[in-house]
Amino acid sequence: MSKQVTPEAFFDSLSLAHKLDNFLDGFKLEEIHLFSYFSSILFLYRKNPVSDWRYRFTISETGYPFSEAIFEAVTRHQQNGLFEDDGTFNKITARGADEFNKFKVLPTFSKREEYLTAACTTSILVPYSQTLRALLSDPEIAKAKEINNKSWLEQSNIYQKFDEISKEVGVSADDLIIPAVTWINFINEQERIEGK
């Protein structure tokens, strides 16, 4: 295999699969991309430089954020029997969960866990469909989709908006889940008003 795998994407996809499978009972592959994108937004919200996330996103034809690195990692997980397709959804296999447990203790990954966990936890606190809708209606994604832009998603606008909302409702920056949920609710509310 000539292609290289990005260690962070290797881990993130495994970790997200593990969580989404637990919370939602199976996942679609584009959801791995979507939630890793969400995690990276939370990562930026904590004032980390975007380059430290170590892989970036474009927009896919279906309008989901898409990362080449995640795609490559997911392909390998499938080939090695870490992910399994049951016809409708993907599931993480016992071997996959085993692999996740092996890697989550590594110091460079354990830091990412905080963001991955926060992103997935929102899907328990808010109905999943709402999370999905909020994430996909993020203006930047919407715009990229509209003009069919294949370049990297900027990620700075969304993070700024996010920051503004958090400040507005006065949540502490120490916490990740509350601002994440607030943000999702905000976007949905806005959608609802605009829809009206």
């Binding site: 295999m1 290289q4 260690p7 997980h77 080939q79 029997g81 590594l106 110091p107």
Partner: protein, 667 residues
Amino acid sequence: MQGKYNFIKLERIILRNFSLYKKDGKVYEVNEEINEGVYCLAGANGLGKTTFLNAINFGLTGIVLEPNKEVYSPSEIVIRNKRYTERYFIGRIDKKDEDKAEIEILFKVNGKYFRIIRGFFERDVLRLLEVYSTDNDKRISHFKSKSESPKELNNQFQKLLTSEIGFTNFDYFVFYQLYILTFDENRRMIFWDDRASSQALAIAFNADPKDADKILDLTRKMEKHESNGRNLRWQSTQAKKKVEELTQKTKGKKVSDIEDLENEYTELYKELEELERIFRNIKIEYDSMLKKQSHINSELMQLRIEHTRLFSKYSKPRSKLIENTDIQLSIKNKECLLCSSEGSHIAESIERSIYKNNCPLCNTAINDSNSAELDKILKLIQTNDEKISAKNVELDNLILETEGKKIEVDKTEIEVKKAKLDIEEFTEDNPDISLKGTGNNSVDALIKQYEKQSELAAQESKEEYSKRDSLKIEYEKLLKKVESSYKEAETVFVPIFKNLAKSFIGLDLNISPKRSDKTIKLVLEIHNLARTESFQLSESQRFFLDIALRMSLAIYLSDSKDGATMMVDTPEGSLDIAYESRVGRMFAEYIINYNQNLFMTANINASQLLLSLAEICGKNKMKFRRMLEWTDLSDIQKEGENLFQKVYKNIEDALNKRTNHEQTSNA
């Protein structure tokens, strides 16, 4: 360059009529044989330990260094310390003994014995000089005084000693003996003094001794030109002020006090120089941090590349069956190649078996031969990940520290600018005012005279500065040579220092030469970061690191046969007990592993140091002397000596224990 000097080894010291050491009203004649290894003179405070050390250095060089003064270049030492030396023994020696008081030193250098006698109040003459060697107990004389005058004897002594050591000039011996080979906390340290450091380097690391001469000569000349330039500028300003004074006087205005102005001006200059020095040092540190940052970044990049490679290897498809063409065909066509059944469930079923590592046909579990290899890769990933994580932490800390340093750099830069501005303002506030004549002819003539003088001085000042700058070119060239000689010597010299410093401070320290526009000096690095300012280490740590540096220079430069003799007036107090025994180990390292000699004084405070030194050296390599019988003790000193009694016994025990141990193991 290594081992290029034959340093002296003390053999015997005799003090006659030295009335500082008086027991029951009678002068005690000190007659000490100095052994190989450590000679340690111990006693309570105030008994005259430091004086003994100074007396020996006086005997050898004719000079006692004045404490707490700047470091002088070799040619200035005598002139600057002459007066202090002449006063030093007054009061230490009774008036009536002054003529008779003398020191006799027997020492060995380059296989020859020197015996000299110098009166304590006869700085630049010798009473006796004998030079001889021995061959099977037969004494071969190389010099014996006949009818030479004491002054001539002293000249002979300086000439012979200089040539036996290998120096080109007796002044260098004086510099090395007093500044490098003698440590005394009240005299300057090498690391933290630009001049001491640069001169020690120039003498130590020069292939051609003439270059050292030239460097020191140029330093002197450049400093002279600079100071002339400054003085002339001052004169020029003064003359201008006189003009102003005269003009204003005729206008009936009050003038400010010239002397005050002069002081103010000097102060402003001093401040500017000090700030510029600090700025240079901080800049060196800051640059070194930036260098280190990019170094870590590139290390991190390497580690990340390795990480990616390992992960790619780890996540390679594992099952060999997936590469099987029949299976691939079946999956692709969704048709079983055995029974020809069709449908997407065929592909799924085959894949499921493969993922479970079972054969799709007979369902046998396939022996996973590559799991051992995967474990190996996983271990490598873990190690690599730890490294990345550690490097990240290191980088984060360094970035934080660098940011702080940058603020320091900026702040100091502003301060330097401000100091320059102050000087400018000062000159503006005291300007050459425009003259329209005062109407008084004689005053006008005087004013003209002063104006002329001012212009002339300003012109001459400029010339002095340009003379200095013209010397700079050659000076730079010579410094470059020192730098490159140092680079050659580094492979031998630096490990010696590292070894000694590590045995003391437990950290990997490094030293490297750093060039600034004015000078070259040795800079100490901890964790690869330059430390130029002395306040970043505790005082006692600084003392002993400075001793480590001196020891390294001594080891590096001395001929391996006899080694050099370091004279250490052990700094008092302030060291942690843990560090004390580490110092003892460092000293022992210097003596035993590098075959050198140490002449030291110590008081009771340093007992842990002495104990660990004694434990390693044993009686064969260490002599421990108390000053009890040398002098009458005051009540407080008696108390001190009583306390010492116990410590003394412990040290004696340690010495004997080691010696017995050696005898047993020899037997």
